[in-house]
């Protein structure tokens, strides 16, 4: 039987039969590859090619308005960006924003997820309502908060200034409070998403382990620290990576509220890159900046993987 099975495909190959040749496994692989090919081509066309082009262009002094003056400059654009104090400030602002916004969103999101864990009608309705901010475009959220927080005639900003909760210029009028306001807007919009991801993780936890902790007489804090969080690590990882990548690329709310001010207090990397690329059309500089951001996001994601793996190993013994 074995010899027949081996002989058949060889025989077909000899007769020159084309694609249909191969074992069932080979044909299956080919079929699956054919199924995945459109997606693969799509990813290559809309992600990899532009990415490669961005890397290539970052090596040139290239302004779209003066295309004839294009010149190869090697890594100069990168060195220029890294040594530019405005970019350094923007990087610091981006990190501060990302760490604080994602950190607060995580803590609030975990709290909300734990509150909504038990399946009840109220919790289901609360969850649905809570997701409304996620559905709104960030640009619109920024515009709404700008109108609300304006010190002189905003519904919140006016009273906040009157009652001394903000300076008289309003939240957007001072460097620290402007960054605080941007973090608040992000937390308002994205905490529900964080809660949703963590809630999905909580719902998937094996009940036996939690019941065992109850039987063993664990306090709620011990249960959370020693049982729930370790088992929730994959969901925590997913939530943190998703939000960190997104927060690192903050643009919309800055664009419609502070334009990076006051001074350079809320000038973040993406805002700076967009200005370089789409306002001044310095494609070389903008590409270098984008690639540096890509590398930074990659490093942050790698850091998360490392931390979570270590924690995972420690928790599992």
């Amino acid at each position: 039987m074995t010899s027949v099975g081996l002989a058949t495909p060889a025989g077909r190959r000899r007769t020159g039969a084309p694609f249909a040749a191969g074992t069932f496994g080979q044909r299956r692989r080919l079929f699956l590859l054919a199924l995945g090919l459109p997606s693969l081509l799509y990813v290559i066309a809309v992600a990899l090619v532009p990415l490669a082009q961005g890397m290539w262009l970052s090596l040139f002094e290239y302004n779209l308005l003066r295309p004839d003056r294009r010149a190869f400059v090697g890594l100069d654009n990168y060195l220029e960006q890294i040594s530019d104090p405005v970019v350094q400030q923007a990087l610091w602002n981006t990190l501060v924003f990302t760490v604080l916004a994602v950190g607060i969103e995580f803590l609030l999101g975990l709290g909300l997820a734990l509150l909504l864990w038990r399946d009840s009608l109220f919790n289901r309705v609360a969850l649905a309502l809570m997701l409304v901010p996620v559905a709104v475009t960030p640009l619109v959220v920024g515009l709404v908060f700008r109108a609300l927080l304006t010190a002189d005639f905003g519904m919140i900003g006016h009273f906040a200034a009157q009652w001394g909760l903000s300076g008289e210029r309003g939240f957007f009028g001072y460097p620290n409070s402007a960054m605080g306001a941007l973090i608040f807007i992000d937390v308002w919009q994205w905490t529900p998403l964080m809660a949703l991801i963590l809630l999905a993780g909580l719902k998937a936890l094996p009940q036996e382990a939690i019941e065992a902790a109850d039987v063993a007489g664990a306090s709620p804090w011990q249960k959370l620290r020693l049982v729930i969080v370790p088992m929730l690590l994959p969901a925590i990882f997913l939530a943190l990576v998703l939000r960190t990548m997104d927060a690192f690329r903050i643009f919309d709310s800055v664009f419609v509220t502070t334009k990076g001010g006051p001074d350079n207090a809320t000038n973040v990397l993406m805002f700076h890159a967009v200005k370089e690329g789409l306002e001044f059309f310095n494609i070389g500089d903008a590409s270098a900046l984008s690639n540096l951001m890509l590398a930074a996001i990659g490093l942050i994601a790698a850091g998360f993987v490392l931390v979570i793996r270590r924690a995972d190993r420690r928790m599992l013994g």
């Binding site: 779209l64 308005l65 003066r66 295309p67 304006t150 010190a151 002189d152 005639f153 900003g157 200034a161 300076g167 008289e168 210029r169 309003g170 957007f172 009028g173 001072y174 460097p175 402007a178 502070t258 334009k259 990076g260 001010g261 006051p262 001074d263 350079n264 207090a265 200005k275 789409l278 306002e279 001044f280 059309f281």
Partner: protein, 425 residues
Amino acid sequence: MRHHRGLAGIALGTMALAAPFATAQEQPYSGVTLNVASMNDQFSGPLVVLAPSFEAETGIAVKVDILSYPELLTKITADFIGETGGYDVVTMDIVWAGQFAEAGHTVLLNDWIARDAEEIGVDDIYPVLMQALGNYEGAQVAFPFAGYANVLAYRPDLYEAAGIAPPQTMEELVAAARALTDREANRYGWVANGQRGPAVAQDWMQYNAQMGGSILDAEGMPALNSPENVASLTVYKTLFDETAPPGAVDYDWGGREESFRQGLVANMQTWSVGAAGYDNPDLSKVVGNNALMLAPPGAGMEPRYGIGGWGLAINADIDETRQAAAWEYIKWVTSPEVQKQMAELGGGGYIRMSTLADPDLNALYPFLPVIHESFLNGDGEYRPRIPEYPEIQDILGTAVNAVLAGDVDPQEALDAAQEQAMELF
């Protein structure tokens, strides 16, 4: 009866046969569809409303794509660079002329304007607008379409109550702004844009020009930290601190206009285009209590009234037929008749003396003589229309905002700005 029907049928048939012949002669570009990239401004709505009239007259359909300022600049630049010919006609901001001219993305209109001068009525168009809204070093890269004048909007009732005459000089304006500020009553004497970026840069450049400052020196090189500029920025900071609403350090154009319409401020230098909204009870709390006057110059200085606005440019990448059709559209939309219709529809921009002198429009908008006077002594160069303008504006936008909101010393801020600006040349 049957006989009459027969005649009518023959007549209709003849008309039907003759129609294509007439169309071919009178509507040489019939069937062409022009894509217009329009800034989202007050004129964009009227452009859409009037497009069917142009199609009825010429057979040329017009599709107007209304875009925000950054979106417009990005899309048309991508269109030009990619030579995709996506847009046939684009609205061009006054400060883009240098870039457009240098890159050569648009059709030069000099010859066509000379050829059709009589038809266009070139003499009826304010010379300063013909120059500022499309001409760069002799190259006419766009045709003037919607001109704005920088004017002083003020509250006559507050001036009257305080027993002060409206200001004739900047120094008087500063004094009036101080006198009319009453923080306890939440009323402020003056307002301008303070937000980082183009908003604060443009308002300060206007103020700076009125006070005798200049962004470029006589050789066309940056002179951001000239003594005149430093002096004017120092006074500007004082004005902000003492007479503007506290939140003004973060105002852009929308916030600034809103503060005037809400009755928060007594004086505001602004573009004439927003004036129609001050007497709209749905938008404004100062209906009947507002007026426009010429922007006051510094004491002893020649008046320099800031000019802004938009021109219409033709994409050089489209074929000759489309270019010709686009020129027909530009001539039509800038004609006296259509300009009047646009004004009646709230377009807000003007280019023709006849439009600003029109009795019907003057009855509708009593402030038109102020715009006329501003155009006669207009200055379209206070924002340098050079290719490096966007970067210079950004540098100034950060420096001036740092002074107003970050309490940085004006000299220090402008020294740093000058250093950055010099790197562009």
